[in-house]
Amino acid sequence: MAAKTKNNQDGETRRDFLQLTAGAFGAVGAGAVAWPFINSLNPAKDTLALSTTEVDLTPVEIGQSITVMWRGKPVFIRHRTQEEIEEAREVDTADLRDKQTDEDRVEKPEWLVLVGICTHLGCVPVGQKNTEPRGDFGGWFCPCHGSHYDTSGRIRKGPAPKNLAVPPYEFTSDTSIKIG
């Protein structure tokens, strides 16, 4: 009788082990099958292929701004005036919510390139035209929940947590850039 119980117990631990390993393999297998399905929802190759945009800057006069599309998003390019550059550089970064110097945000001081998406909940701020409101700091103003951005696209007032993003870009010549 006692021997039998012992045997039983032995069987039990072996069974536990087999069940655990089978379960673990099953879980890993299920995950491995699920992944391609989930990953198929990530950006497809053609979507990724659209992820660079070339822009010719020659027609943009000083003080003017243009909006181009990059990855389905608006990108703001502003040909800044001397005053705008100075204004952006005079600010003490310690006072900023998202501390960044203007120098860190531009390749060439006269060209400011930004993703035109408010970092709060994704609206497009206004201020691209001289006739539009530009908020208290002369840059852009987001009407959705009232975020004010300065002439470097930095958040100065309102609910947005971050500065307007600077997309990756490079100058391919003196007057053209490639975004992305």
Binding site: I38, L41, N42, P43, A44, T47, S51, T67, M69, R71, G72, K73, P74, H120, L121, G122, C123, V124, P143, C144, H145, G146, P159, P161
Partner: protein, 424 residues
């Protein structure tokens, strides 16, 4: 669905089927002779009404899907074509559009009924939770449906709501890209939303089935909030409640039809008749009315929560808003354990009744706050202050008032039986 002893049917065809698959026995047991408390008031109609609305949405939706094109270049025009060229298309679309609103009206009233009469309490906790799950699925379905016509509100609503997930620390941005299938709301997003919008109502249907199954295990609650004890306390479901439900449903349909035929766009937003434009945000983004109270809670948190006197932020305003909004639904799931008072019905709990009615007022007021621009004011104060106060009451009701009342409210004497409570 057990195949226990079965009574024979007279009709030979019915009997032939039933002896092989007892569907008639099942229907008769659950909807024919099913013993139902005899004191139901009209609040008990809204379950059946919600069921009717679900079927209406599925039928009208399938027909719409036969004419609709889920592509950013064509979606808006295909909906306009439904409105102008498809035979009776305008009617089908207005039935679907207003149907979503009336579905929510029915479900809000249904949920209020559950709260007022304590239907979430033991032994109906799971029944209640399944209801909250249905509510969540409905919100997701309606949100994705609203994106399909690809108007300005569709586009910007989708942008703002999907961006909420970017508040999640570390993986937020990745999740948002995964949701979009790109770097902004675009064609891949529209396509998957359409696929899910088609699927989810059927998932809802399955959960409704579980919800009704659970209901038929515990039986219905009733306005007195006490269990039926004798035969005197109940009536067979048919014909008593089939008739009462039909009558209430007809009244509801009349009101619904008034909107469909005479004010089809009253509950909607004119901006959604402008095609989506990723470069221009409408001046004032508002969700559909049934989301407004939750939207107000999202916007109520306008401040970072961090360690005092340092620059360290633990929860940013954005994340705080998102947590507050989703938390408000999580509280509903926890409700059976937050209110543990032995008396179910608010009829016999005057204090609970007062706080609950105030809760309803606050909830509606939050809806008003959610409908206003973010910089609106009420009197001398910014409206967001009231949004915060309302949110505080919402949370306080669940987390402070209900547990406190559970311990301290005395309550009135309960009637001895349902029969007695009806006789007065």
């Amino acid at each position: 669905m057990a195949s226990g002893p079965r009574e024979k049917f007279d009709n030979p065809v019915v009997e032939w089927i039933d002896s092989r698959l007892p569907v008639f026995t099942l229907m008769n047991k659950e909807y024919g002779v099913f013993p139902t408390p005899k004191n139901f008031n009209y609040f008990w109609n809204f379950g059946a009404i919600a069921m009717f609305m679900l079927v209406t949405m599925i039928v009208s939706g399938i027909v719409l899907a036969m004419h609709y094109t889920a592509n950013v270049g064509m979606a808006f025009d295909s909906v306009e074509r439904i409105m102008r060229d498809v035979n009776g298309g305008w009617l089908i679309r207005y039935i679907h559009m207003n149907g979503a609103s009336f579905f929510f009206i029915a479900v809000f009233i249904h949920m209020f009924r559950g709260m007022y009469y304590g239907s979430y309490k033991q032994p109906r906790e799971l029944l209640w939770i399944l209801g909250v799950v249905i509510f969540l699925l409905m919100m997701a379905t309606a949100f994705m449906g609203y994106v399909l016509p690809w108007g300005q509100m569709s586009y910007w609503g989708a942008t703002v709501i999907t961006n909420l997930f970017s508040a999640i620390p570390l993986v937020g941005e990745k999740i948002v890209t995964l949701l979009w299938g790109g770097f902004s709301v675009d064609n891949p997003t529209l396509n998957r939303f359409f696929a899910l919008h088609y699927l989810m109502p059927f998932v809802i249907f399955a959960v409704v089935f579980l919800h009704v199954w659970a209901l038929h295990v515990t039986g219905s609650n009733n306005p007195a909030g006490i269990e039926p004890k004798t035969k005197k306390d109940t009536l067979p479901f048919h014909p008593y409640y089939t008739m009462k439900d039909t009558f209430g449903l007809l009244v509801f349909i009349i009101v619904y039809a008034l909107f469909v035929f005479y004010a089809p766009d009253y509950l909607g937003h004119p901006d959604n008749y402008t095609p989506a434009n990723p470069l221009v945000t409408p001046a004032h983004i508002v969700p559909e009315w049934y989301f407004l109270p939750f939207y107000a809670m999202l916007r109520a948190i306008t401040f970072d929560i961090g360690i005092p006197f340092t620059d360290i932020t633990i929860i940013s305003a954005k994340l705080g808003g998102v947590l507050t909004m989703f938390g408000s639904i999580a509280l509903l799931i926890l409700l059976p354990w937050l209110d543990t008072h032995p008396i179910r019905s608010a009829r016999y709990r005057p204090l609970f009744r007062t706080f609950l009615l105030l809760f309803v007022v606050v909830f509606v007021f939050l809806g008003y706050v959610g409908s206003q621009p973010a910089d609106a004011t009420l009197g001398p104060l910014p409206l967001s202050v009231f949004g915060l106060l309302g949110t505080a009451y919402y949370y306080g009701f669940f987390l402070v008032i209900l547990p406190w009342l559970s311990k301290n409210e005395k309550g009135r004497d309960l009637p001895a039986s349902i029969h007695e409570s009806v006789l007065g």
